[in-house]
């Protein structure tokens, strides 16, 4: 009995203490923030390019905020594991997440996940993935028009991609829908496996995901079409985009974004957002993105929020047309 009493007293004290802390916290949230280390979950495996950009961002943010930003990798399930975990954390600004927009818009349509887009407060986007249609340098087609003509005559040309429903694969299918083409899709375990498949000429073309870019520079691959851009890419001005061939834009580009759990006090969120923005603008970070062939594409939290609902609708519509079973 004595034991029970002391436990309840202990718990009672703990609750009081927590309440006191909470009050203190709300009164001076931004002024005192951050008072301790911040955990940054990364929805990708350690050592990959995405992880490396997140780590560099954390390093720069550390200097700005003056507290450690500890990176923890929680890869898996198309970013859904890390998202669910972050959504369950206390919205005090001490937990942030680096994930992708498609994990918020596309994944929840296909599988049951323990979060909604509203579970998060986006802080910023720092880059996006641009997909393209890639062929071997010695492929017979000189440009996209020759390719489309040939594809019309020979339905069932094959292509490899970094995975089913990845944004590049969806983009290829939007081209097929627009021009009335029919392709065979060979899914692989990721960008580099897809590159190998094309290099070995086991498929006719590939949905380029970014990891193919070094091979462009080395003259192994050629790009016939760039998907997720309105205007032509400044680095590749000769490669047409969807608009140039009279097609509606492909699917929205998925970006790498920094998120906090929803309910973070406004002033804390603003402090974090401006620190991350400053960290991303530093030359060392810009240089790193450049090395990985990732464009710097900043978007504020508000902009990201605004783009989410139409993106969800775009994918819902696409999956309906493609006959893919959805969970919601």
């Amino acid at each position: 009995m004595e034991y029970k009493k002391s436990v309840s007293r202990f718990v009672g004290r703990g609750v009081l203490g927590a309440l006191a802390l909470a009050f203190a916290g709300s009164a001076t949230a931004a002024a005192d923030f951050p008072a301790g280390p911040i955990t940054m979950y990364v929805a990708y495996a350690a050592g990959g390019t995405t992880d490396l950009t997140a780590r560099a961002l954390a390093q720069n943010t550390e200097k700005i905020l003056g507290v450690p930003v500890v990176v923890e990798n929680k890869a898996g399930g198309g970013s859904t594991v890390a998202n669910a975990l972050t959504a369950s954390k206390k919205p005090d600004g001490y937990t942030v997440l680096v994930s992708s927009t498609s994990s918020l818009t596309m994944r929840p349509l296909l599988m049951k996940v323990a979060y909604k887009p509203e579970s998060f407060r986006p802080l910023m986007q720092y880059t996006n993935y641009v997909g393209s249609l890639v062929v071997n340098t010695d492929a017979p087609w000189k440009d996209i028009n020759e390719f489309i003509e040939d594809a019309k005559k020979n339905p069932g040309m094959s292509y490899s991609s970094a995975g089913t429903h990845t944004q590049q694969q969806v983009a290829v299918e939007t081209l097929a829908l627009c021009k009335g083409l029919q392709f065979k899709h060979v899914t692989t375990k990721g960008g580099s496996a897809s590159n190998t498949m094309l290099m070995g000429k086991h498929v006719n073309f590939a949905a380029g995901s970014g990891s193919h870019l070094p091979f462009l520079e080395q003259g192994v691959f050629r790009e016939l079409l760039i998907f997720h851009r309105e205007d032509r890419h400044p680095k590749y001005p000769d490669t047409p985009v969807m608009k140039d061939i009279g097609c509606p834009p492909s699917n929205p580009a998925s970006g790498l974004i920094v998120l906090a759990p929803a309910g973070v006090p406004d002033d804390v969120a603003e402090k974090l957002a401006s620190a991350f923005k400053q960290a991303a603008e530093e030359p060392s970070f810009q240089e790193l993105l450049n090395k990985f062939n990732m464009p710097y594409d900043y978007k504020s939290g508000e902009e990201i929020m605004k783009e989410i609902p139409p993106e969800v609708e775009w994918y819902r519509d696409y999956f309906k047309k493609a006959g893919v079973e959805m969970v919601q």
């Binding site: 495996a45 350690a46 050592g47 990959g48 390019t49 992880d51 490396l52 780590r55 923890e72 990798n73 929680k74 890869a75 898996g76 399930g77 198309g78 859904t80 594991v81 669910a84 296909l110 599988m111 049951k112 996940v113 323990a114 069932g156 094959s158 995975g163 089913t164 429903h165 065979k184 899709h185 060979v186 899914t187 692989t188 375990k189 580099s192 496996a193 590159n195 190998t196 498949m197 290099m199 070995g200 086991h202 498929v203 870019l213 070094p214 091979f215 520079e217 080395q218 003259g219 192994v220 790193l288 090395k291 990985f292």
Partner: protein, 504 residues
């Protein structure tokens, strides 16, 4: 630059002082994590990746590569002395290596493992230098049907690994295949067998599975046995193998080097797969296959040579094509890209320092490893000479930490412990864990290759016999299957005869 001046240039790079220092650091760390079960090269390399930001790319890759092949040396020490594989690629070594140790010959077992590794490493480096570019293009010709055929061959080899009952081995292989299908279906992106748990979406990781089945179960078994006999061999004398050992081990080392070298080149292959293959080949062609599993020196020499050759040759697809064949190579790819180098077909021309420097450093590293692992074996053994009461919890602790740091996923801990108990029961009932692991590794690749092939052929099975490579593998598989069925029948007849006699 012609070949010889390239090699000379490579050695000049490898002997720069900072490269020597980092090479030594790499192989030292590699040996250490190899000796300690649990923490593998992938985890270690990701942890050490940030310290490579500040050094030159050649030095960084030299160090990271050292960790990888160093772990292949160190892993065998634990396998032989404790019977718990220090690394996944030393699983097979534990079968005969530990038996040799129990029979009082731990020295020659360690010796032949180190010399075999050194010889294989040397041969693989020569192969790497001479054959890298042409071999890379052969590897490119492996498309989905060729992989399918290779995986079929791999599964057939499973039946060869069966030490005791073929039926039990096949049953365990079936369990492995099912476990391998957990996670997102690669073709449709739909979750399978995940029971609604998002942690299972990426499937079960090999590390918690292997550490549970081999490591945790071994500890549980040893806890039972401790009182009866010492399991850890701590008196090691006569590291040099005898003349007879050399005679028995020479051809296994050569064959192991060869099969390791070629399996290492294939994407998805690598050190672990090569050990299984070379072991089964040796068992198959041996005149005394009954010695395998009871301390056959060929059963140590072949897989240890194979994993080292494969560790080295798996650099070929990365350095010549920019294609990482396994997760270790994927981390190296990341490290190269940090330094603004994109591996690909033109990398050798564009960065000759890097290619020739790293390859030459491997030779230097192999010499360092031989010195580290033979004269200084005592230090590593001392790591293992801690009393059981401390050692077992320590191994368990390192294994748990190792399983956790890979993905930072709590689920992996429960999986590892669960598989530990499962593995313990398996051993109690005389089921072998090796077929389960190999089937687990092969099943996603097999499924993927099969479905990719059928997409390409619009459903026609003819695609599997449309190239010489796949026809070759399938024929080999068929022949092996027939020849393995025969001893099984023979054995069955013998058992029947024996029971009949008993009953009579």
């Amino acid at each position: 630059m012609d070949f010889f001046s390239s090699v000379l240039h490579g050695f000049a790079v490898a002997f720069e002082w900072q490269n020597l220092v980092f090479c030594f650091f790499g192989v030292l760390v590699g040996t250490l994590i190899g000796v300690l079960p649990g923490l593998g090269p992938v985890g270690t390399m990701s942890i050490l990746l940030p310290i490579t930001y500040g050094i030159s790319p050649v030095t960084a890759i030299i160090m990271l590569a050292g960790i990888y092949y160093g772990a292949q040396y160190g892993g065998s020490t634990t396998s032989i002395l404790v019977g718990v594989p220090g690394e996944a690629s030393s699983v097979v070594t534990a079968l005969d290596g530990h038996q040799m140790a129990l029979k009082g010959r731990p020295g020659p077992a360690l010796g032949i493992a180190a010399f075999g590794s050194f010889i294989a490493g040397t041969l693989a480096i020569v192969g790497l230098m001479a054959l890298a570019p042409p071999l890379a293009s052969v590897a490119l010709r492996f498309g989905p049907p060729e992989y399918f055929a290779l995986m079929i061959l791999g599964l057939v080899i499973l039946t060869y690994l069966a030490q005791r009952s073929l039926g039990k081995a096949l049953l365990m292989a079936a369990v492995g295949v099912v476990l391998g299908t957990v996670g997102l279906d690669n073709m449709t992106g739909m979750p399978r067998f995940t029971f609604g748990r998002s942690e299972l979406l990426d499937g079960i990781d090999i590390a918690p599975l292997a550490m549970g089945l081999f490591g945790v179960s071994e500890i549980l078994l040893n806890v039972e046995r401790t009182i009866k006999k010492g399991v850890i061999i701590d008196k090691v004398k006569n590291l040099l193998p005898t003349r007879k050992d050399w005679v028995q081990a020479f051809f296994p080392i050569m064959r192991g080097s060869l099969s390791g070298f070629f399996l290492g080149i294939l994407p998805g292959g690598g050190a672990t797969l090569s050990t299984f293959v070379s072991y089964s080949v040796e068992k198959r062609i041996s005149k005394k296959p009954e010695e395998f599993g009871h301390g056959a020196i060929a059963g140590v020499a072949a897989p240890e040579s194979a994993n080292n050759a494969a560790a080295q040759s798996s650099f070929i697809p990365l350095l010549t094509l920019g294609v990482p064949g396994n997760s270790v190579m994927a981390i190296l790819l990341g490290a190269l890209m940090i330094h603004g180098i994109s591996p690909g077909p033109l990398m050798i021309q564009q960065h000759p320092d890097l290619f020739w420097g790293v390859v030459s450093s491997m030779y230097v590293g192999n010499v360092m490893l031989l010195l580290l692992n033979l004269p200084m074996i005592g230090i590593w053994i001392r790591l293992l000479r801690v009393p059981y009461g401390i050692l077992f919890p320590l191994i368990l602790f390192v294994a748990l930490t190792g399983a956790y740091v890979i993905n930072g996923n709590e689920m992996d801990l429960y999986l590892m412990l669960g598989f530990g108990v499962f593995g313990y029961l398996m051993r109690k009932f005389d089921y072998e864990p090796a077929p389960l692991i190999l089937a687990f590794v092969l099943s996603p690749m097999l499924e993927n290759a099969m479905r990719q092939s059928l997409v390409l052929s619009s459903g026609s099975l003819g695609i599997f016999v449309s190239s010489y490579i796949s026809i070759g593998f399938l024929t080999m598989a068929a022949l092996l299957l027939i020849s393995s069925a025969m001893p099984a029948l023979k054995k069955k007849r013998e058992t029947f005869a024996a029971t009949a006699e008993e009953e009579a």
